[in-house]
Amino acid sequence: MSDMKVGLVLSGGGAKGAYHVGVVKALHEVGAQVDAVAGASIGALNGAILAAAPSLQEGAVRLETLWMDLANTSPLKFNFPAYIQLLAASGLHLAGASVLNEIVQKAQHIAGGAMPAGISNFLGGLNDGALSDTPLQNHINRYLDQDALNSGLPLFISVFKHNHALRDLLRCAVAELGIVDSAASEFIHIQSLPLLEQKEALLASAAIPLLFAPKKINDTLYSDGAQGGWQKMQGNTPITPLLEAGCNMVIVTHLSDGSLWSRHDFPDATILEIRPQSNISREGLVPDVLGFHAEKIPSWIEQGYVDTMHCVGRVMKASKARVELKASEAAVVKSQDTARIDQEMQITMRRIVSLQ
């Protein structure tokens, strides 16, 4: 049907955003169309690359190139989690090396000492420049071409109004405990922003509190959009702007196991969720989000591909059966229109009988 308008929600999840690569690749292979994209955090960055691409196929190729580059970056050259590298290459400035050092130390503890030795010393002399000069930056600069983005698919991102980094995180923790939910994230239509603010908004959506400085958009500071509406992942799964934009079919991707985002909060929308059919978490929350183990990236890409083929395939098989049922019903009804031929037969038989 030509009136189908498909939206794609790319939720946030740090380095697990590699999953989106497989999703987009699979959607292209099953012949799906995407008319609008919404993303949170890493989903906003991936979504921007997809929106600026001339086709879904090219978008899949670009995303794969970028993420495989990230996966293949030598850990001896840059001893930083993959996601941090990606954000830094995108233009986000670290809020402070000491904070990162502290985070890495904690993550190292969680990851069981998997980080290379001496990283703490390296982080001691860290500055923004050390992270900005990477081949990734060339890819991102090319793929996030502003002209292409403005003439590309409508892109919506979620951002969270920044108050104070620690306070924001505390509110998320309180929401996680089910006490009081965090404030809702806001959704921004990227192409409606002034050119200068478009990339700032993209980076704001991905700006993890404490690690990265918030971004100013229209005189307001914003940070990682995943923080809003924490309990129902309202900010991390930005479907609302796509529904408001008129999408009558929305494909929602999740980057966490058993996401508590609920399709039932949108009873009128047709939603196809692509959920992990096996554990998406590899090493734990912080290592996965920050991407301490870049070698996991190909496995997320593969998982995104397999899960999409599975979830979409199941719906499409059922839908195909429905289409065929309806078509066969129509064929049955049409085939019953035999009045004229029956009448002709009656006339002929009467003639024959009269001849006997």
């Binding site: 012949g31 508590l260 047709t270 395939g313 199941r314």
Partner: protein
């Protein structure tokens, strides 16, 4: 957990991705994967801490609610689909009933047509038999007419020959005998052999009449005028007499018996002692029928 074979870009289902699936179908089919995702996580969070955490934060209850809602979606979807499938099945059943009804009508009509065809065939066969019979009759008639015409033509030819003087080498009675002998061995004789007495008598009557007429012409006497048999058996003059004419007649009539065929015997064999049944005087009216009678009697044909 993945119970579906992976699809590829060549899979058939890709052909329907360009059309908008119905919401209840998406909720129905996709709800299974949503519930499965929650169930997998739920099964992994069975430790004391996890259970306490999920209970304290309410996430356990919310996850269960999501599973329940997906199951309800599934049941609702099943109900809708089952309802539509049932309606569709009912439609199919009614269609089958209609097909059966039409099939019955068609069977009835085919039966009628088969009878009609068989009757027509019988009539055609009868017509064919009648026509064949009629054709045979016509053919026989044509053959008979043809036979009769050929017999008459021979009669005509022989008497033309006689009147043209071809038999003048014989005596008057010899001419009559030679002409009749030629007819007896030709189509005329065949015709007389295969036809019954009534038809044969008609032809033989014609033959006798024409012979009487020709004899009277040749003898230049009246048909009833009696003459001595020497007149009838007298050889022609030397100018028209062929040397072996007498032998030829003798050869032709060597089968005759003086008692049974006195005329033939006397005319062909020219015995010095004539049979007792052979008259001394005779007219054309007697001579010609006597020869016809002896030559064309059923017994000697």
């Amino acid at each position: 957990m993945n119970d579906l074979a992976p699809i590829t870009r060549d899979s058939e289902i890709c052909q329907v991705l360009s059309s908008l699936p119905e919401k209840f179908i998406v909720d129905f089919a996709n709800g299974i994967d949503v519930a499965r995702d929650h169930l997998r996580v739920q099964r992994q969070r069975t430790g004391m801490g996890a259970r306490f955490y999920d209970g304290f934060t309410g996430q356990g209850a919310r996850r269960q609610a999501e599973i329940n809602a997906s199951l309800i979606d599934g049941v609702e979807g099943s109900l809708i689909w089952l309802g539509e499938l049932t309606e569709s099945l009912a439609l199919s059943n009614y269609a089958i009933v209609k097909v059966n009804e039409r099939l019955s009508v068609i069977t009835q009509n085919v039966t009628t047509l088969a009878h009609y065809s068989a009757n027509t065939r019988q009539q055609l066969q009868k017509l064919s038999t009648d026509l064949n019979k009629r054709c045979d009759q016509l053919s026989q008639q044509i053959d008979r007419i043809d036979f009769e015409q050929r017999a008459e033509r021979q009669l005509e030819q022989v008497f033309n020959k006689w009147s043209a003087g071809r038999f003048n080498t014989f005596s008057l009675a010899g001419r009559c005998y030679a002409a009749m002998e030629e007819l007896r061995w030709g189509v005329f004789g065949d015709y007389c052999r295969v036809h019954d007495n009534q038809i044969r008598q008609g032809f033989l009557g014609d033959l006798a009449n024409r012979a009487i007429s020709q004899l009277t012409n040749d003898a230049r006497i009246e048909a009833a005028e009696r003459s001595d048999m020497t007149f009838w058996l007298a050889k022609p003059t030397a100018r028209t007499q062929l040397p072996d004419a007498t032998d030829a007649l003798a050869y032709l009539g060597d089968w005759s018996n003086s008692e049974v065929q006195p005329f033939v015997f006397s005319i062909s064999q020219l015995p010095e002692q004539r049979p007792l049944k052979f008259p001394n005087r005779c007219n054309a009216n007697r001579l010609a029928p006597a020869l016809v009678s002896e030559l064309f009697s059923e017994q000697y044909l």
